[in-house]
């Protein structure tokens, strides 16, 4: 990029980076949700889709517990629970599935896309959901399209469910040579709208999103497509898009002022946006973000941070918290390290960071106890027990349920991490 004068190039100074540091690989007990969890936000994002898990009572209970807030009388997800009859072959599981889908679609005439979501049990008994989707499509297309993917815990962790869901949609995207920017990964609607305004001001467009808000508005893809990634966990979907001719614009993720500027710059350079114009559009916003972050710097600066593996957001968030708020990174754990997805992030981490991949939860907790971090980011199952041991925690699921991308959410993102610490200062009990 730097061989193209006049274009916005955001060179982020690094201190050597940790792209080459050895990674601590662990293979023990994991304490991470499975990919089914992605349904909790995907069913809100895709307003005309239904997610039908083909699984067990455990799967139904997992989504229910992760979704927790049962505000929606009839959510757009459900579980076809396998019973003894299906397993003993007394009922043909395929017929049963067809029956359940028919009932469902009758009940919900508003549904345009039905996702059949595989689970551990459906995979172990080798229930072929791709075949099932094909069979159902023959009946329900064009009104409804049936798509399948796996969210099973033997194949996927937490946010990988979104990756698999998107990957399943890639073959359905219309082909087009049109030059376009495709933003990949679920964003809060409000953030999408903010970015839309920014891209318009920068003269970048057309901009489309994947996933779209409606499953029938699938964006096209082709050689003119440039991918800008909003979430670091969609590696498989991205590779499928690349295979359809798209080009990846490498960039850090739009967390924090710096991250957002670098992210926008990657698109701006590609669209030949004049550097001065870029600066005029982004600088005031970056400045505003910085001001917002200032509020929390005093609380977070110098504090030692430990990430337990959970959402795959760990690497970009660690970068943000370290570089823009001065936090010290004790350990950055991530369920798996997809170097293509975090290629632009790793060099921005300090070379001293301990990166860990996978998990052995007991040993990792031993490391937490030994390191005594000021803040530990972890899943809901671990938060209260750690608090009880005296550690401040931030539960990570909030990070996928809250708008945290972009300039105007930078301070909100910082606040999420500052809150547990500020709270401790307030409490006298």
């Amino acid at each position: 990029m730097s061989d193209r004068p006049g274009l916005p190039v955001v060179e982020l100074p690094t201190s050597g980076g940790c792209a080459d540091v050895p990674v601590l690989k662990e293979r023990g007990q994991r304490e991470v949700f499975c990919g089914l969890t992605g349904i909790v936000w995907l069913h809100r994002k895709l307003q005309d889709a239904f997610f039908l898990v083909v699984g067990s009572r455990t799967c139904a209970h997992l989504i229910q517990s992760a979704a927790g807030v049962m505000i929606f009388a009839e959510p757009r997800f459900g579980t076809a629970i396998l019973t003894d009859r299906d397993l003993a072959g007394m009922a043909d599981a395929n017929d049963e599935l067809d029956r359940v889908c028919a009932t469902l679609l009758e009940r919900r005439p508003d549904i345009r896309t039905l996702f059949l979501v595989g689970s551990c049990p459906s995979e172990v008994i080798k229930l072929d959901l791709a075949k099932a989707a094909e069979r159902l499509n023959a009946r329900v297309l064009p009104r409804v399209r049936v798509v399948n993917y796996s969210g099973s815990g033997i194949e996927t962790t937490f946010t990988q469910g979104e990756d698999n869901a998107l990957k399943a949609l890639v073959p359905l995207l219309p082909a087009s040579d049109e030059r376009q920017l495709l933003v990949v990964g679920t964003l809060a609607d409000v953030v999408e709208d903010q970015f839309a305004r920014l891209f318009r001001q920068l003269g970048i467009g057309p901009v489309r999103h994947f996933p779209p808000r409606r499953s029938t508005d699938l964006p096209p893809v082709g050689p003119g497509t440039r991918l800008l990634l909003a979430q670091p966990f969609n590696g498989e979907a991205v590779r499928a898009l690349l295979a359809r001719g798209a080009t990846l614009l490498p960039a850090p993720y739009p967390f924090g002022g710096e991250g957002t500027t670098a992210w926008l710059a990657a698109a701006a350079a590609e669209w030949n946006v004049n550097a001065e114009h870029f600066r005029q559009v982004t600088q005031p916003l970056h400045e505003r973000a910085r001001k917002g972050l200032d509020r929390y710097r005093a609380t977070l600066e110098g504090k030692r941070l430990f990430f337990m593996p959970d959402s795959q957001l760990e690497v970009p968030l660690a970068r943000f918290l370290h570089r823009e708020l001065g936090m010290q990174l004790v350990e950055v754990g991530t369920p798996y390290l997809d170097r293509q997805m975090v290629g632009a992030e790793l060099p921005l981490l300090p070379a001293t960071t301990t990166l860990s991949e996978g998990q052995d939860v007991e040993r990792q907790l031993d490391r937490v106890r030994a390191a005594k971090p000021d803040l530990t980011v972890c899943g809901l199952g671990l938060a209260n027990p750690l608090e009880r041991e005296g550690f401040a925690t931030k539960w990570s699921i909030e990070l996928v349920f809250t708008p945290i991308h972009g300039y105007d959410q930078a301070a909100d993102l910082a606040e999420i991490f500052a809150r547990p610490l500020l709270r401790r200062e307030r409490l006298t009990v």
Partner: protein
Amino acid sequence: MQLTLWTYEGPPHVGAMRIATSMRDVHYVLHAPQGDTYADLLFTMIERQDARPPVTYTTFQARDLGGDTANLVTTAVRDAFERFKPKALLVGESCTAELIQDQPGSLAQGMGIPVPVVPLELPAYSKKENWGAAETLYHLVKALLADRVPKPGTPRPARPEGRRPRANLLGPTVLGFRCRDDVREVTQLLGQLGIDVHVVAPLGASPDDVVRIPEADFNVDLYPEVSRTTAGWLQRAFGMPYTKTIPMGTGATRDFIAEVAQLAGVDAAPVLGRERPGVAGLASSQSRAPWYQRSVDSTYLTGKRVFIFADATHAIAAARIAAQEMGFTVVGLGTYSREFAREVREAARQYGVEALITDDYLEVEAAIAAATPELVLGTQMERHIAKRLGVACAVISVPIHVQDVPARYSPVYGFEGANVLFDTWVHPLVMGLEEHLLQMFREDFEFHDGAVPSHLAAVAPSAPAAGGAVSAPAGEAEGVRTLASVPQLQVTVAMPAVTDPAAAAAPAASAGPVPPVWTPEGEQELRKIPFFVRGKAKRNTEAYAAQHGIARIGVDTLYDAKAHFGR
């Protein structure tokens, strides 16, 4: 295959987790994939447990399948034993592991672990959480007591002279309904009779305590969903009788006192003598509830239509309280506990309703909508149904959410429990005088359909709260009717052409002859009736019209029906 949107119970291994987590010095090794670790948060978040559940998951992955998944089990068992040093080890599997048939229980038994290893086989594709809890408690107790069972026919030794009678409290668990406080309440109740509580299990018990269970004279089967199997076995194996009464509500608490006194061979009179029913007994009763229930301000509770759906134990007990102590009319009674369907059916017959035995949330919703209750007593599922329908609701049973685990002492068993229930059931209702004012000045702009009882916060439940699993919207009150959709819903309900999917799914009670149609004037008048009685008025009027062959309901039909049915 069963289509499920929300489930009342988790899988059976979650029941086993409830037993393990309730106890001390017990560890559970669960052969399961990583996603199943979600269950930890039920304990640490909903119940605010301050330690992780004592559960080690093998978290096998696809790449392990066909290879060394069995090896993962033995490694997990060994590591867990070394790290946690339990006095008993439960070993089992979740749904997925059941399919790959590694037999983790037998594997672990063959490892020479120097403490009792209890294999758990909990069929995940046919059974559910409460059953899993009951089986786990039973197998654990049986394993720990195996070598102490007397020969069949051995008479039970009499209680030694001078030793106070002893009872065990069986069944309380974490993630049960108010177990912590019920145990305290029942313990002090037994204390009044001179009966000592010997062992409480599983809540707070260690394997050593379990071994002492037979030293008591009888068992209190506090939560039959969890403890009936064990109580039954202890009766067969050790000749220990167990209680059948659930001490929930004033009347049932009195019956319970009589029952335990008889089992313990003590005189109930000193306690029961102060608990006579009727006005004469009020002065000496330990409970405030009977007076509150007789107080004139409670008159407005008379005949309020209540729909009850819960686990069997709490549903049956709540129905008795509703009918006999609150003066409500039970218009629906049901349970998701199929194991106790017979008991619930029997109870329902007493109130002249058909028991609803189902674990299908949509069926429950339809039944509630059709019954047009003024108060729903249920689980957190019913709370959501009630919220949607704009009906008041109180939670009386699991499944629960974080706000159903209060910090304060709030049992539902015993005399204090009766007080607590009175308060919590009355709280969501529109109070007597307020109800009159609403009736008289129904055109007052503040008395619109969305108005809430004045003592409840007027906070509209907002969009799904961020923060995931347990974020209860602040200030959420169960009687709140400000959900934006409710006014329309009310109107929809008043229309013959039902567009609401839930209402559409209602059992086709009205199938058969063409239902009467509301004229615009009739409908207008109906809308003037306050929302909390409108459902009833509508129902009565339609029934009246149908009975009298009236095809079009006008203003007069409405008032004719009112005259016919009374209030």
